[in-house]
Symmetry: C2
Subunit: 128 residues, 2 copies
């Protein structure tokens, strides 16, 4: 199949309204049947990590940051996965300590948690 | 409560990896109990609109565009709601024709569907 994807890089427009959330975090909470070869983020514990992150973000007073559940982000083998917009940075998170580090380093201080970041070449096996 | 949100505007960094999806679309499919005063995007038909958008994006060959479900985006009264990143543009979609117009005008051609766009001042009543 030809790739007919849009050719404009990101469609950014200087006239768009301001962001509704300064940072919008999506954690995959998709569930697959037990034994599925790709596994799923839910079976890897993503719901507890989402709940923890929501609670901590609220405690920290991050009022313009939204922590959301998402359906399958299609990087299951690397999960639990998370993507933060508008910057489009992806993380694989395993523990509450990972979440704490992302809250502090990325969301509070604008840095990156290099040890947890995913890169675009980390593609699901089915797509290679 | 003091707003302790991050003060850096969007944390964009010139050294971040390339976007994994050129455009990442999130449609709220959250469900609330019948009779909830805020209603919910699911009861307003968001799942059918998501399914339609996924199928049409595939048919159109938008390989680097991902259509995702999301949990509550917290703009329920305006739903079904959708946000497209990295640009952070929000839409309220009611019909398959609305979806078609967003696919063609926004995702294919990089424009905006002004008649469906939400602006940041359209805030849920509970937050006013």
């Amino acid at each position: 199949m030809n790739d007919l994807s849009p050719k404009t890089p990101a469609g950014l427009s200087g006239t768009d309204p301001a962001l509704f959330y300064d940072r919008h975090v999506f954690l995959c909470t998709n569930e697959r049947m037990a034994g599925h070869p790709r596994g799923c983020c839910k079976s890897r514990g993503s719901e507890k990590l989402r709940d923890y992150m929501k609670a901590r973000a609220k405690e920290l007073g991050f009022e313009k940051t939204r922590i959301n559940s998402a359906g399958c982000l299609d990087r299951c083998e690397l999960g639990p996965t998370m993507v933060i917009y508008p910057e489009g940075v992806w993380y694989s998170v395993q523990t509450p300590a990972d979440v704490d580090e992302i809250l502090e380093t990325h969301l509070k201080n604008g840095g990156r948690v290099q040890r947890l970041m995913l890169t675009p070449d980390q593609v699901p096996p089915k797509k290679k």
